[in-house]
Amino acid sequence: MSNTAEDMLDDDIYDDDEDTQKDKYLTFHLAGEDYGLDIAFVTEIIGIQKITEVPDMPGFIKGVINLRGKVIPVMDIRLRFNMEAKEYDERTCIIVVDINNSAVGLVVDEVREVAGIPEAQVEPPPKTGKGESSRYLKGMGKIDDEVKILLNAEKLLYDEELE
């Protein structure tokens, strides 16, 4: 773990062009598992704040928030995966991603770190997954003994099937 943290630091200092975003994932915690999200999509991470509910939305769209004057919708990833809802606490974070030029906030239990996972260490998602949620996966990333579930952000946001 500390190993990857150092890597991240090094990278931040030495190169900051687009290429360095390759194979980098923002990892977060959700219901006992670690997930990863391609860092290229992430614009920022903010603490949980008051969400204004919008009627007639699917349950996983919690509502909208004010991000410095911009109104952006917020999706609860737990609800997106049909997991049990969890009360928000001080560790709850909103990861703001930008896909197809629209910003969306993703509510997660806890943000971990930025980890580099080379392509060679990513395995395809398990085909025999029992839940439907596996279609939103990009693969399973291995860092030493740990496994991070890598999400396909675009499908997570835009795949209609789950609605």
């Binding site: 009627p55 007639d56 928030i65 410095r68 952006i72």
Partner: protein, 783 residues
């Protein structure tokens, strides 16, 4: 033109397209107005000015098109120019056919620039262009009475510099009516010309033998003179005429001290600038000490070359308070005119110093004169503003994002000043600084709101052409009066109301105004009047279309409505207002026959839809035999609405004030519950259905009893209902923000929400769409 276009060319073409569009918009109404003045019994009014300005505009189009190698556009405008030139020089009079032809020419150029905008060349237009050219040629020959020596259309545009700038008849009568717009464009053009002249003069002073520059200067001063003469600024015209003579003398090889001539001309440019500033401030543009300057110019020329001063409609300026130091000194008898002009002619230092050196005046006199000058300048202080009042074109996208940023700034400022972390702290200095910031931000916001505002004159002027065409088609004589053209409205609003306005005017022309015989029989003037006016009232803009036609036929509308099953019974008990509202029903038309102007009944519901899109409304009043008045009420801007903040449970909402009629607390006896559970409240004589906001949005209200909440009576499309909320929190200006596009992808009505706003505390608050709520509640009934 080559097949490949570099970005520079494309950019130039885009600029060209914009410029030509503006020119055309300017040109069209002038032509129509001119047409009106000549169609009235052949008694041609004074149209010299109009002809000249049209000629000039076609000339500019030709020049610009020629420059970009748009041969077809250039040649067709050239043929229009030929025609106008012949009219201008009184070879034959202007006829209505000419007006039509000019309109066709404009239509062609419009189509051509649309084409050019996409293709970057006009090669495909050769045929149409030839057609137009032939028409002009025919018209010229015809008007000349078969004289075939008429100017043949040139195959290539004349090179821009080969033609002298538009010739203005210097001896013409002063312009009958100089509109403020004309003065405004004169000012910006004059400032531009003077700027150019100054640059050219400076260049020339460094390169005295350069003939090209001299020619450039000559052309510049000539145009300037023309402009001045056109608007009857006699002093400036006279002075520039003499400047022109000096330059002409110089460029034709006359013996002259070039350096001193150049310096003097530079000085005189400054004099002109002052006059232009004076005009900008509402002055007459007269030049104080004109005679001195003219003498100075004359002194440059050898004695036998002295030119007679230009003949003027008006005499040289009356002795007005002199402003120049030299004048004052003469006035005080300290020196003579000759001394002053000698000094001025070689002037590089302040005049006072030179005079001192030459010993012609003493220090005290100068001081006294300078003092007087300062005092007098002070008096005229407002006239000292810079003339640099020019427009620049800005990309609308940039403007919008600037306005967005300012909107965010307003919110951010609120969040800082009302930050919960600062509560209960004593922060005197912070408060002061905060108030200052707040004021600046509000000013900025106000300014930002005006940026998108443009006057309705452009829109109104387009209607002149419409009415002209319709009037020719239908044979009805109509006088269109435009009132309040300067009223400013958001650009998007203008775009949205263009179609409705066109439609309403067509209606007025086709159904409203009666044929001449009928009007005469009804003791009305033969030609009808349509008044199109715009004005501000209580934060909204009202646009009215008022005709003096036959009025709306109540009986006919009712009969049609009964036939279509739109109303129950014969409708005899309906108010006029309700009856007139029927014409907004889709497919409604009372026209006995469908004409090519209107009558298919698709119009009025589209008019209403367009207005609803921008949160506007429409109102009709009509008196049989006296006319119809349609009033459009539109918001000033789409970015801000006046809203009422309401609360239901923990949630707050904004309701647009425009939809709110009243609010009250109900008593039990006012409420009735229908068997299907629908609650109805009796407000005076009306029974209104109640919609509970908390039920619609799944909220937990303070209490469920109707009597404890507040009922807000809302109106949309003439239908009323009540919305139950817990509390009214107050009225406020609401900056509208769209819900994210990601949200709208889930579709649906979004619970009757049209958008959202950000409150002072940073929280997002939804804006209710009354129209949508009404539709949502009515849907189940239809099933």
């Amino acid at each position: 033109m080559s097949e490949q276009y570099d970005p520079e060319h494309i950019e130039m073409v885009q600029e060209f397209v914009q410029e030509i569009r503006e020119l055309l918009d300017e040109l069209e109404p002038v032509i129509i107005e001119m047409g009106q003045s000549c169609s009235d019994d052949g008694e041609v009014g004074d149209i010299t000015d109009d002809i000249n300005s049209i000629f000039r505009l076609f000339h500019s189009i030709k020049g610009a098109a020629g420059f970009l190698n748009f041969t077809n556009i250039a040649t067709s405008s050239h043929s229009a120019e030929n025609l106008l030139d012949l009219i201008r020089t009184d070879v034959f009079p202007l006829t209505a056919d000419h007006i039509d032809l000019l309109c066709q020419g404009i239509d062609f150029i419009r189509a051509a620039i649309d084409h050019v905008e996409n293709e970057f060349n006009d090669e495909a237009l050769a045929e149409e262009s030839k057609e137009i050219r032939d028409k002009f040629l025919q018209a010229i020959e015809h008007s000349k009475g078969g004289d075939t020596t008429a100017a043949a259309p040139e195959t290539a545009p004349a090179p821009p510099k080969a033609e002298a700038p538009p010739l203005i008849d210097l001896y013409a009568q002063p312009a009958e009516s100089v509109s403020p717009e004309m003065v405004k464009s004169f000012i910006s053009e004059a400032s531009y010309l003077l700027q150019n002249l100054e640059e050219e003069l400076l260049r020339w002073l460094k390169d005295l033998d350069n003939h090209d520059i001299l020619n450039e200067i000559f052309r510049g001063i000539h145009s300037f003179k023309g402009n001045c003469g056109f608007l009857d600024f006699a002093d400036m015209e006279a002075l520039s005429h003499q400047m022109e003579s000096v330059i002409d003398f110089t460029r034709t090889g006359g013996q002259i001290n070039k350096t001193s001539a150049g310096e003097l001309l530079l000085k005189l440019i400054d004099i002109h600038r002052e006059s232009v500033t004076d005009i900008d401030n509402g002055g007459s543009g007269e030049i104080i000490g004109l005679d001195i300057y003219r003498d100075m110019l004359a002194d440059l020329l050898p004695a036998n070359q002295k030119l007679a001063p230009i003949q003027q409609g008006k005499q040289a300026p009356l002795p007005a308070p002199p402003e120049r130091l030299g004048e004052i000194l003469i006035e005080q008898g300290a020196t003579s005119k000759e001394e002053i002009s000698d000094s001025l002619a070689q002037q590089n230092k302040p005049l006072g110093e030179i005079l001192l050196e030459s010993g012609s005046v003493d220090e005290k006199q100068i001081e006294k004169a300078l003092e007087t000058q300062a005092k007098r300048r002070q008096k005229k202080a407002p006239g000292k503003q810079a003339v640099k009042k020019q427009d620049i074109r800005v990309d609308l996208g940039k403007l919008d994002s600037l306005i967005d940023f300012i909107g965010e700034l307003v919110i951010a400022e609120n969040m800082v000043i009302n930050n919960p972390d600062l509560e209960e702290l004593e922060l005197d200095n912070f408060q002061k600084a905060g108030q200052h910031l707040g004021k600046i931000v509000r000013d900025l916001q106000e300014m930002a709101m005006t940026l998108r505002m443009i006057p309705v004159s452009g829109l109104f002027r387009r209607m002149i052409r419409l009415v002209h065409d319709l009037s020719r088609k239908s044979g009805k004589k109509v006088d269109l009066q435009l009132i309040g053209e300067e009223t400013e409205v958001d650009k998007t609003v203008i775009e949205t109301i263009t179609d409705p306005l066109v439609h309403l005017l067509r209606n007025s022309m086709d159904h409203g105004i009666e044929p001449a015989e009928k009007r005469l029989a009804a003791n009305k003037p033969e030609s009808g009047t349509i008044k199109l006016s715009a004005f501000h009232e209580e934060g909204v803009v009202k646009i009215t279309i008022d005709d003096d036609g036959g009025g709306l036929p109540r009986d006919k509308i009712l009969a049609k409505a009964v036939e279509k099953g739109l109303i129950n019974g014969d409708g005899s008990d309906m108010s006029d207002k309700d009856v007139f509202a029927l014409i907004f029903a889709p497919g409604f038309s009372t026209a006995d026959q469908v004409t090519d102007i209107s009558g298919r009944g698709v119009g009025m519901d589209v008019v209403r839809q367009n207005l609803e899109k921008i949160k506007g409304s429409i109102d009709i009043s009509s008196k049989p035999g006296q006319g119809t008045k349609v009033e459009l009420q539109i918001p000033l801007t789409l970015a801000i609405i006046e809203g009422m903040l309401v609360r239901s449970g923990e949630s707050r909402y904004i309701i647009p004030i425009i939809n709110i009629i009243e609010s009250f607390r109900a008593t039990p006896e006012m409420i009735t519950i229908a068997p299907d559970g629908q609650e109805v409240v009796k407000v005076r004589e009306n029974l209104l259905p109640i919609i509970r906001l908390h039920e619609m949005h799944g909220l937990t209200p303070d209490n469920h009893e109707l009597e404890k909440g507040i009922l807000v009576v809302l109106e949309a499309r003439g239908a009323n209902f009540c919305l139950l909320v817990d509390e009214l929190l107050g009225q406020q200006q609401t900056v509208i923000k769209g819900l994210s596009s990601y949200v709208s992808k889930f579709g649906g009505n979004i619970g009757g929400v049209s958008g959202c706003t950000i409150m002072g505390d940073g929280e997002v608050c939804l804006i209710l769409d009354v129209q949508k709520i009404l539709e949502m509640t009515q849907e189940p009934e239809g099933e």
